[in-house]
Symmetry: C2
Subunit: 214 residues, 2 copies
Amino acid sequence: MGKKVSMAVIKRLPRYYRYLNDLLKVEVKRISSKELSERMGITASQIRQDLNCFGGFGQQGYGYNVETLYNEIGKILGVERRFSTIIIGAGNMGNALANYTNFQKRGFDLIGIFDINYNRIGQKVNGIEILHTDELDDFIKKKNVDIAILTVPSRNISEVAEKVVELGIKGIWNFSPQDLKLSHDVVVENVHLSDGLAVLGYRLKEKEENNSSN
Amino acid sequence: MGKKVSMAVIKRLPRYYRYLNDLLKVEVKRISSKELSERMGITASQIRQDLNCFGGFGQQGYGYNVETLYNEIGKILGVERRFSTIIIGAGNMGNALANYTNFQKRGFDLIGIFDINYNRIGQKVNGIEILHTDELDDFIKKKNVDIAILTVPSRNISEVAEKVVELGIKGIWNFSPQDLKLSHDVVVENVHLSDGLAVLGYRLKEKEENNSSN
DNA sequence: TAGATTGTTAATCGATTAACAATC
DNA sequence: TAGATTGTTAATCGATTAACAATC
Protein backbone atom coordinates (compact mmCIF):
# COMPACT_ATOMS: atom_id res chain seq x y z
CA MET A 1 0.00 0.00 0.00
CA GLY A 2 1.35 3.39 -1.06
CA LYS A 3 5.09 2.77 -0.80
CA LYS A 4 5.57 6.12 -2.50
CA VAL A 5 8.36 5.59 -4.98
CA SER A 6 10.45 8.70 -5.53
CA MET A 7 10.52 10.56 -8.84
CA ALA A 8 14.28 9.99 -9.05
CA VAL A 9 13.61 6.25 -9.31
CA ILE A 10 10.71 6.56 -11.74
CA LYS A 11 12.71 8.72 -14.09
CA ARG A 12 15.33 6.01 -14.33
CA LEU A 13 12.82 3.33 -15.32
CA PRO A 14 12.61 4.23 -19.02
CA ARG A 15 16.38 4.03 -19.18
CA TYR A 16 16.42 0.56 -17.65
CA TYR A 17 13.72 -0.38 -20.10
CA ARG A 18 15.82 0.76 -23.04
CA TYR A 19 18.92 -1.08 -21.90
CA LEU A 20 16.98 -4.27 -21.30
CA ASN A 21 15.46 -3.97 -24.73
CA ASP A 22 18.94 -3.69 -26.23
CA LEU A 23 19.99 -6.80 -24.33
CA LEU A 24 16.92 -8.67 -25.53
CA LYS A 25 17.76 -7.78 -29.11
CA VAL A 26 21.19 -9.37 -28.84
CA GLU A 27 19.61 -12.35 -27.08
CA VAL A 28 21.20 -11.97 -23.67
CA LYS A 29 19.17 -14.16 -21.31
CA ARG A 30 20.34 -13.09 -17.88
CA ILE A 31 22.16 -10.15 -16.37
CA SER A 32 23.50 -9.30 -12.93
CA SER A 33 23.12 -5.89 -11.37
CA LYS A 34 26.90 -5.62 -11.55
CA GLU A 35 27.10 -6.17 -15.28
CA LEU A 36 24.16 -3.87 -15.98
CA SER A 37 25.73 -1.22 -13.78
CA GLU A 38 28.88 -1.29 -15.89
CA ARG A 39 26.93 -0.88 -19.10
CA MET A 40 24.75 1.92 -17.77
CA GLY A 41 27.36 3.76 -15.77
CA ILE A 42 25.49 3.66 -12.46
CA THR A 43 26.12 1.57 -9.31
CA ALA A 44 24.87 -1.99 -8.94
CA SER A 45 23.55 -0.96 -5.56
CA GLN A 46 21.34 1.64 -7.11
CA ILE A 47 19.94 -0.80 -9.62
CA ARG A 48 18.99 -3.30 -6.94
CA GLN A 49 17.60 -0.56 -4.73
CA ASP A 50 15.53 0.85 -7.60
CA LEU A 51 14.10 -2.46 -8.72
CA ASN A 52 13.20 -3.47 -5.20
CA CYS A 53 10.84 -0.54 -4.98
CA PHE A 54 8.55 -2.59 -7.18
CA GLY A 55 9.32 -6.15 -6.14
CA GLY A 56 12.01 -8.81 -6.08
CA PHE A 57 12.53 -9.50 -9.76
CA GLY A 58 15.90 -11.16 -9.33
CA GLN A 59 17.22 -14.41 -8.00
CA GLN A 60 20.18 -14.81 -5.66
CA GLY A 61 23.24 -16.28 -7.29
CA TYR A 62 21.75 -15.82 -10.76
CA GLY A 63 20.83 -12.22 -11.36
CA TYR A 64 17.88 -11.05 -13.40
CA ASN A 65 16.17 -12.74 -16.30
CA VAL A 66 16.32 -10.09 -19.01
CA GLU A 67 12.98 -10.82 -20.59
CA THR A 68 11.11 -11.04 -17.29
CA LEU A 69 12.63 -7.84 -16.01
CA TYR A 70 11.91 -6.07 -19.29
CA ASN A 71 8.29 -7.12 -19.13
CA GLU A 72 7.95 -6.19 -15.48
CA ILE A 73 9.31 -2.69 -16.03
CA GLY A 74 7.04 -2.39 -19.04
CA LYS A 75 4.08 -3.21 -16.80
CA ILE A 76 5.19 -0.65 -14.22
CA LEU A 77 5.49 2.02 -16.90
CA GLY A 78 2.09 1.12 -18.23
CA VAL A 79 3.16 -0.05 -21.65
CA GLU A 80 0.30 -2.53 -21.73
CA ARG A 81 -2.21 0.19 -21.09
CA ARG A 82 -3.24 2.17 -24.15
CA PHE A 83 -3.49 5.94 -23.87
CA SER A 84 -5.47 7.75 -26.52
CA THR A 85 -3.59 10.88 -27.40
CA ILE A 86 -4.12 14.03 -29.41
CA ILE A 87 -1.70 16.68 -30.64
CA ILE A 88 -2.75 20.30 -30.53
CA GLY A 89 -0.69 22.51 -32.79
CA ALA A 90 0.22 21.06 -36.19
CA GLY A 91 3.32 23.18 -36.68
CA ASN A 92 6.79 21.77 -37.17
CA MET A 93 7.05 20.23 -33.73
CA GLY A 94 3.54 18.80 -33.81
CA ASN A 95 4.36 17.33 -37.19
CA ALA A 96 7.56 15.78 -35.96
CA LEU A 97 5.85 14.21 -32.96
CA ALA A 98 2.96 12.91 -35.05
CA ASN A 99 5.48 11.01 -37.14
CA TYR A 100 7.31 9.58 -34.16
CA THR A 101 6.62 5.87 -34.31
CA ASN A 102 8.06 5.18 -30.87
CA PHE A 103 4.98 6.53 -29.16
CA GLN A 104 2.76 3.88 -30.63
CA LYS A 105 5.12 1.23 -29.30
CA ARG A 106 5.03 2.71 -25.84
CA GLY A 107 1.28 2.59 -25.53
CA PHE A 108 0.28 5.99 -26.88
CA ASP A 109 -2.23 5.96 -29.73
CA LEU A 110 -2.43 9.16 -31.71
CA ILE A 111 -6.08 9.64 -32.61
CA GLY A 112 -6.30 13.31 -33.50
CA ILE A 113 -4.37 16.39 -34.58
CA PHE A 114 -5.70 19.92 -34.22
CA ASP A 115 -4.69 23.32 -35.46
CA ILE A 116 -6.15 26.80 -35.47
CA ASN A 117 -4.90 27.65 -38.96
CA TYR A 118 -7.54 26.97 -41.61
CA ASN A 119 -4.89 26.35 -44.27
CA ARG A 120 -3.80 23.24 -42.41
CA ILE A 121 -7.27 21.78 -41.87
CA GLY A 122 -7.95 18.67 -43.89
CA GLN A 123 -4.31 17.95 -44.57
CA LYS A 124 -3.06 14.63 -43.27
CA VAL A 125 -0.11 13.98 -41.00
CA ASN A 126 0.93 10.38 -40.60
CA GLY A 127 -2.43 9.35 -41.97
CA ILE A 128 -4.43 11.48 -39.56
CA GLU A 129 -6.50 14.40 -40.76
CA ILE A 130 -5.91 17.75 -39.13
CA LEU A 131 -9.06 19.15 -37.53
CA HIS A 132 -9.80 22.68 -36.45
CA THR A 133 -9.49 23.42 -32.74
CA ASP A 134 -13.16 24.41 -32.75
CA GLU A 135 -13.90 20.72 -33.00
CA LEU A 136 -11.86 19.84 -29.91
CA ASP A 137 -14.90 20.01 -27.70
CA ASP A 138 -16.95 17.47 -29.61
CA PHE A 139 -13.97 15.27 -30.32
CA ILE A 140 -12.79 14.89 -26.73
CA LYS A 141 -16.28 14.29 -25.43
CA LYS A 142 -16.92 11.63 -28.04
CA LYS A 143 -13.59 9.84 -28.04
CA ASN A 144 -12.50 9.79 -24.40
CA VAL A 145 -9.02 11.21 -24.90
CA ASP A 146 -6.44 10.62 -22.16
CA ILE A 147 -3.51 12.81 -23.14
CA ALA A 148 -2.99 16.08 -25.01
CA ILE A 149 0.38 16.93 -26.48
CA LEU A 150 0.60 20.70 -26.64
CA THR A 151 2.79 22.17 -29.37
CA VAL A 152 1.05 25.51 -29.66
CA PRO A 153 2.81 28.90 -29.39
CA SER A 154 3.63 30.01 -25.83
CA ARG A 155 1.13 32.83 -25.85
CA ASN A 156 -1.75 30.38 -26.31
CA ILE A 157 -0.55 27.67 -23.99
CA SER A 158 -2.47 28.47 -20.78
CA GLU A 159 -5.72 28.98 -22.61
CA VAL A 160 -5.44 25.74 -24.58
CA ALA A 161 -4.32 23.81 -21.51
CA GLU A 162 -7.22 25.11 -19.40
CA LYS A 163 -9.61 24.20 -22.14
CA VAL A 164 -8.50 20.60 -22.54
CA VAL A 165 -8.47 19.88 -18.82
CA GLU A 166 -11.99 21.23 -18.56
CA LEU A 167 -12.95 18.81 -21.29
CA GLY A 168 -11.57 15.96 -19.19
CA ILE A 169 -8.02 15.42 -20.43
CA LYS A 170 -5.99 13.66 -17.73
CA GLY A 171 -2.42 14.26 -18.86
CA ILE A 172 -0.57 17.01 -20.68
CA TRP A 173 2.76 16.84 -22.43
CA ASN A 174 3.78 20.46 -22.69
CA PHE A 175 6.29 21.57 -25.32
CA SER A 176 5.91 25.26 -24.68
CA PRO A 177 8.62 27.00 -22.64
CA GLN A 178 5.85 28.42 -20.47
CA ASP A 179 5.22 26.62 -17.18
CA LEU A 180 1.64 25.52 -16.71
CA LYS A 181 -0.37 26.50 -13.68
CA LEU A 182 -3.69 24.75 -13.91
CA SER A 183 -6.76 24.94 -11.78
CA HIS A 184 -7.62 21.28 -12.28
CA ASP A 185 -5.84 18.25 -11.00
CA VAL A 186 -4.02 16.94 -14.04
CA VAL A 187 -0.67 15.27 -14.70
CA VAL A 188 1.73 17.56 -16.57
CA GLU A 189 5.11 16.74 -18.05
CA ASN A 190 7.06 19.70 -19.36
CA VAL A 191 9.67 19.38 -22.04
CA HIS A 192 11.20 22.86 -22.13
CA LEU A 193 13.63 22.02 -24.93
CA SER A 194 15.53 25.28 -24.79
CA ASP A 195 16.30 24.75 -21.10
CA GLY A 196 18.27 21.69 -22.07
CA LEU A 197 20.10 23.63 -24.72
CA ALA A 198 20.90 26.37 -22.20
CA VAL A 199 22.45 23.78 -19.90
CA LEU A 200 24.53 22.50 -22.80
CA GLY A 201 25.73 26.06 -23.40
CA TYR A 202 26.62 26.49 -19.74
CA ARG A 203 28.59 23.27 -19.57
CA LEU A 204 30.46 24.10 -22.77
CA LYS A 205 31.36 27.57 -21.57
CA GLU A 206 32.46 26.27 -18.17
CA LYS A 207 34.63 23.63 -19.77
CA GLU A 208 36.37 26.19 -21.94
CA GLU A 209 37.06 28.35 -18.90
CA ASN A 210 38.49 25.42 -16.96
CA ASN A 211 40.71 24.44 -19.85
CA SER A 212 42.09 27.93 -20.35
CA SER A 213 42.80 28.40 -16.63
CA ASN A 214 45.09 25.36 -16.48
CA MET B 1 38.93 28.05 -6.85
CA GLY B 2 36.46 25.83 -8.78
CA LYS B 3 33.45 26.18 -6.44
CA LYS B 4 31.83 23.29 -8.31
CA VAL B 5 28.19 24.17 -8.62
CA SER B 6 25.95 21.12 -8.64
CA MET B 7 23.95 20.07 -11.69
CA ALA B 8 20.74 20.42 -9.68
CA VAL B 9 21.41 24.15 -9.38
CA ILE B 10 22.48 24.63 -12.99
CA LYS B 11 19.37 22.93 -14.29
CA ARG B 12 17.25 25.44 -12.42
CA LEU B 13 18.99 28.44 -13.97
CA PRO B 14 17.07 28.44 -17.26
CA ARG B 15 13.86 28.41 -15.28
CA TYR B 16 14.90 31.43 -13.22
CA TYR B 17 15.88 33.09 -16.46
CA ARG B 18 12.44 32.51 -17.93
CA TYR B 19 10.61 33.82 -14.90
CA LEU B 20 12.77 36.92 -14.74
CA ASN B 21 12.15 37.54 -18.41
CA ASP B 22 8.40 37.35 -17.77
CA LEU B 23 8.79 39.87 -14.94
CA LEU B 24 10.81 42.18 -17.16
CA LYS B 25 8.09 42.08 -19.78
CA VAL B 26 5.49 43.31 -17.31
CA GLU B 27 7.99 45.89 -16.08
CA VAL B 28 8.50 44.64 -12.56
CA LYS B 29 11.65 46.35 -11.26
CA ARG B 30 12.47 44.43 -8.10
CA ILE B 31 11.57 41.10 -6.59
CA SER B 32 12.27 39.39 -3.28
CA SER B 33 13.20 35.75 -3.02
CA LYS B 34 9.93 35.26 -1.16
CA GLU B 35 7.76 36.64 -3.92
CA LEU B 36 9.67 34.80 -6.62
CA SER B 37 9.38 31.61 -4.59
CA GLU B 38 5.60 31.93 -4.56
CA ARG B 39 5.44 32.42 -8.30
CA MET B 40 7.78 29.55 -9.09
CA GLY B 41 6.59 27.10 -6.46
CA ILE B 42 9.95 26.57 -4.80
CA THR B 43 11.30 27.81 -1.46
CA ALA B 44 12.81 31.27 -1.01
CA SER B 45 15.67 29.60 0.75
CA GLN B 46 16.50 27.57 -2.33
CA ILE B 47 16.46 30.63 -4.54
CA ARG B 48 18.88 32.50 -2.30
CA GLN B 49 21.05 29.43 -1.94
CA ASP B 50 21.11 28.87 -5.71
CA LEU B 51 21.93 32.45 -6.61
CA ASN B 52 24.69 32.67 -4.04
CA CYS B 53 26.57 29.93 -5.84
CA PHE B 54 27.43 32.60 -8.39
CA GLY B 55 27.60 35.76 -6.30
CA GLY B 56 25.58 38.13 -4.17
CA PHE B 57 23.18 39.62 -6.68
CA GLY B 58 20.71 40.89 -4.10
CA GLN B 59 20.56 43.63 -1.56
CA GLN B 60 19.40 43.28 2.03
CA GLY B 61 16.08 44.88 2.74
CA TYR B 62 15.40 45.34 -0.97
CA GLY B 63 15.57 42.06 -2.78
CA TYR B 64 16.83 41.61 -6.31
CA ASN B 65 16.78 44.03 -9.20
CA VAL B 66 14.98 42.07 -11.91
CA GLU B 67 16.95 43.39 -14.84
CA THR B 68 20.34 42.98 -13.16
CA LEU B 69 19.54 39.45 -12.04
CA TYR B 70 18.23 38.56 -15.49
CA ASN B 71 21.42 39.79 -17.10
CA GLU B 72 23.63 38.05 -14.56
CA ILE B 73 21.95 34.70 -15.08
CA GLY B 74 22.19 35.27 -18.81
CA LYS B 75 25.92 35.74 -18.44
CA ILE B 76 26.22 32.59 -16.34
CA LEU B 77 24.32 30.60 -18.95
CA GLY B 78 26.50 32.03 -21.69
CA VAL B 79 23.81 33.86 -23.58
CA GLU B 80 26.34 36.50 -24.64
CA ARG B 81 28.59 33.88 -26.11
CA ARG B 82 27.61 32.74 -29.59
CA PHE B 83 27.71 29.04 -30.38
CA SER B 84 27.78 28.03 -34.00
CA THR B 85 25.51 25.07 -34.42
CA ILE B 86 24.63 22.51 -37.06
CA ILE B 87 21.76 20.06 -37.34
CA ILE B 88 22.44 16.59 -38.65
CA GLY B 89 19.33 14.82 -39.87
CA ALA B 90 16.81 16.96 -41.75
CA GLY B 91 13.81 14.79 -40.93
CA ASN B 92 10.74 16.03 -39.13
CA MET B 93 12.52 16.70 -35.85
CA GLY B 94 15.50 18.35 -37.52
CA ASN B 95 13.08 20.52 -39.44
CA ALA B 96 11.18 21.52 -36.33
CA LEU B 97 14.36 22.46 -34.48
CA ALA B 98 15.72 24.41 -37.46
CA ASN B 99 12.61 26.57 -37.31
CA TYR B 100 12.82 27.14 -33.58
CA THR B 101 13.57 30.84 -33.22
CA ASN B 102 14.29 30.61 -29.51
CA PHE B 103 17.71 29.11 -30.14
CA GLN B 104 18.96 32.19 -31.93
CA LYS B 105 17.88 34.29 -28.93
CA ARG B 106 19.75 32.06 -26.55
CA GLY B 107 23.07 32.36 -28.34
CA PHE B 108 22.90 29.43 -30.75
CA ASP B 109 23.44 30.29 -34.40
CA LEU B 110 22.30 27.65 -36.83
CA ILE B 111 24.82 27.66 -39.67
CA GLY B 112 24.27 24.32 -41.37
CA ILE B 113 21.86 21.43 -41.90
CA PHE B 114 22.90 18.03 -43.15
CA ASP B 115 21.14 14.94 -44.38
CA ILE B 116 22.11 11.67 -45.99
CA ASN B 117 19.11 11.56 -48.31
CA TYR B 118 19.90 13.01 -51.75
CA ASN B 119 16.28 14.05 -52.29
CA ARG B 120 16.61 16.56 -49.46
CA ILE B 121 19.89 18.10 -50.61
CA GLY B 122 19.59 21.63 -51.88
CA GLN B 123 16.20 22.23 -50.26
CA LYS B 124 16.12 25.06 -47.78
CA VAL B 125 14.95 24.96 -44.16
CA ASN B 126 14.54 28.31 -42.44
CA GLY B 127 16.69 29.84 -45.15
CA ILE B 128 19.52 27.35 -44.80
CA GLU B 129 20.39 24.95 -47.58
CA ILE B 130 20.53 21.28 -46.70
CA LEU B 131 23.94 19.77 -47.47
CA HIS B 132 24.90 16.13 -47.82
CA THR B 133 26.62 14.53 -44.83
CA ASP B 134 29.59 13.84 -47.09
CA GLU B 135 30.34 17.54 -46.84
CA LEU B 136 30.39 17.52 -43.02
CA ASP B 137 34.12 17.05 -42.96
CA ASP B 138 34.97 20.12 -45.04
CA PHE B 139 32.26 22.21 -43.46
CA ILE B 140 33.25 21.66 -39.83
CA LYS B 141 36.93 22.18 -40.59
CA LYS B 142 36.23 25.41 -42.42
CA LYS B 143 33.58 26.93 -40.17
CA ASN B 144 34.67 26.04 -36.65
CA VAL B 145 31.37 24.55 -35.46
CA ASP B 146 30.75 24.30 -31.71
CA ILE B 147 27.63 22.20 -31.40
CA ALA B 148 25.95 19.43 -33.39
CA ILE B 149 22.27 18.71 -32.91
CA LEU B 150 21.74 15.06 -33.79
CA THR B 151 18.32 14.11 -35.14
CA VAL B 152 19.38 11.06 -37.08
CA PRO B 153 17.83 7.60 -36.69
CA SER B 154 19.02 5.63 -33.64
CA ARG B 155 20.89 3.08 -35.70
CA ASN B 156 23.21 5.77 -37.05
CA ILE B 157 23.65 7.78 -33.90
CA SER B 158 26.96 6.39 -32.57
CA GLU B 159 28.62 6.55 -35.95
CA VAL B 160 27.56 10.13 -36.62
CA ALA B 161 28.43 11.22 -33.09
CA GLU B 162 31.90 9.67 -33.27
CA LYS B 163 32.47 11.36 -36.59
CA VAL B 164 31.58 14.85 -35.46
CA VAL B 165 33.65 14.70 -32.28
CA GLU B 166 36.62 13.58 -34.32
CA LEU B 167 36.09 16.62 -36.47
CA GLY B 168 36.30 18.80 -33.38
CA ILE B 169 32.69 19.37 -32.30
CA LYS B 170 32.60 20.31 -28.61
CA GLY B 171 28.97 19.73 -27.70
CA ILE B 172 26.24 17.34 -28.78
CA TRP B 173 22.50 17.69 -28.32
CA ASN B 174 21.27 14.17 -28.81
CA PHE B 175 17.65 13.53 -29.81
CA SER B 176 18.06 9.80 -30.36
CA PRO B 177 16.81 7.46 -27.63
CA GLN B 178 20.20 5.77 -27.74
CA ASP B 179 22.66 6.81 -25.01
CA LEU B 180 25.97 8.02 -26.36
CA LYS B 181 29.24 6.53 -25.24
CA LEU B 182 32.00 8.52 -26.85
CA SER B 183 35.73 8.04 -26.86
CA HIS B 184 36.43 11.77 -26.89
CA ASP B 185 35.85 14.29 -24.17
CA VAL B 186 32.75 16.12 -25.32
CA VAL B 187 29.70 17.66 -23.63
CA VAL B 188 26.53 15.70 -24.35
CA GLU B 189 22.96 16.60 -23.50
CA ASN B 190 20.41 13.90 -24.18
CA VAL B 191 16.78 14.65 -24.81
CA HIS B 192 15.21 11.19 -24.85
CA LEU B 193 11.73 12.47 -25.57
CA SER B 194 9.99 9.15 -25.16
CA ASP B 195 11.40 8.76 -21.66
CA GLY B 196 9.45 11.81 -20.65
CA LEU B 197 6.33 10.42 -22.21
CA ALA B 198 6.86 7.13 -20.39
CA VAL B 199 7.01 8.99 -17.08
CA LEU B 200 3.77 10.75 -17.99
CA GLY B 201 2.19 7.35 -18.64
CA TYR B 202 3.43 6.03 -15.30
CA ARG B 203 2.11 8.97 -13.35
CA LEU B 204 -1.25 8.77 -15.08
CA LYS B 205 -1.60 5.07 -14.43
CA GLU B 206 -0.57 5.47 -10.80
CA LYS B 207 -3.06 8.23 -10.27
CA GLU B 208 -5.87 6.12 -11.66
CA GLU B 209 -4.93 3.30 -9.34
CA ASN B 210 -4.88 5.58 -6.32
CA ASN B 211 -8.24 7.03 -7.20
CA SER B 212 -9.88 3.67 -7.65
CA SER B 213 -8.46 2.29 -4.40
CA ASN B 214 -10.06 5.06 -2.33
C1' DT C 1 15.84 54.87 12.38
C1' DA C 2 12.85 50.61 11.83
C1' DG C 3 11.50 47.16 8.67
C1' DA C 4 12.70 44.16 5.23
C1' DT C 5 15.35 40.91 3.12
C1' DT C 6 19.64 39.20 1.98
C1' DG C 7 23.81 36.00 2.53
C1' DT C 8 25.25 32.21 5.04
C1' DT C 9 25.60 28.78 8.59
C1' DA C 10 23.36 24.93 10.76
C1' DA C 11 19.69 21.33 10.77
C1' DT C 12 16.95 18.28 8.24
C1' DC C 13 15.67 15.49 4.83
C1' DG C 14 16.22 12.34 1.04
C1' DA C 15 18.88 9.78 -2.16
C1' DT C 16 22.94 7.09 -3.10
C1' DT C 17 26.37 3.84 -1.80
C1' DA C 18 28.33 0.20 1.05
C1' DA C 19 27.95 -3.95 3.45
C1' DC C 20 26.38 -8.36 4.39
C1' DA C 21 23.19 -12.04 5.73
C1' DA C 22 19.96 -14.78 3.11
C1' DT C 23 19.56 -17.97 -0.45
C1' DC C 24 19.53 -19.68 -5.14
C1' DT D 1 28.15 -28.17 -1.77
C1' DA D 2 30.59 -23.68 -2.96
C1' DG D 3 30.19 -19.52 -5.46
C1' DA D 4 27.51 -15.91 -6.92
C1' DT D 5 24.33 -12.47 -6.43
C1' DT D 6 20.24 -10.82 -4.62
C1' DG D 7 17.28 -8.15 -1.15
C1' DT D 8 17.73 -5.19 2.54
C1' DT D 9 19.62 -2.68 6.39
C1' DA D 10 22.96 0.69 7.80
C1' DA D 11 26.28 4.44 6.63
C1' DT D 12 27.39 8.20 3.81
C1' DC D 13 26.78 11.80 0.98
C1' DG D 14 24.49 15.71 -1.05
C1' DA D 15 20.68 18.71 -1.56
C1' DT D 16 16.97 21.27 0.51
C1' DT D 17 15.07 23.88 4.19
C1' DA D 18 15.23 26.60 8.40
C1' DA D 19 17.14 30.11 11.07
C1' DC D 20 19.26 34.30 11.98
C1' DA D 21 22.93 37.80 12.16
C1' DA D 22 24.39 41.27 8.89
C1' DT D 23 23.01 45.21 6.53
C1' DC D 24 20.61 47.96 3.15
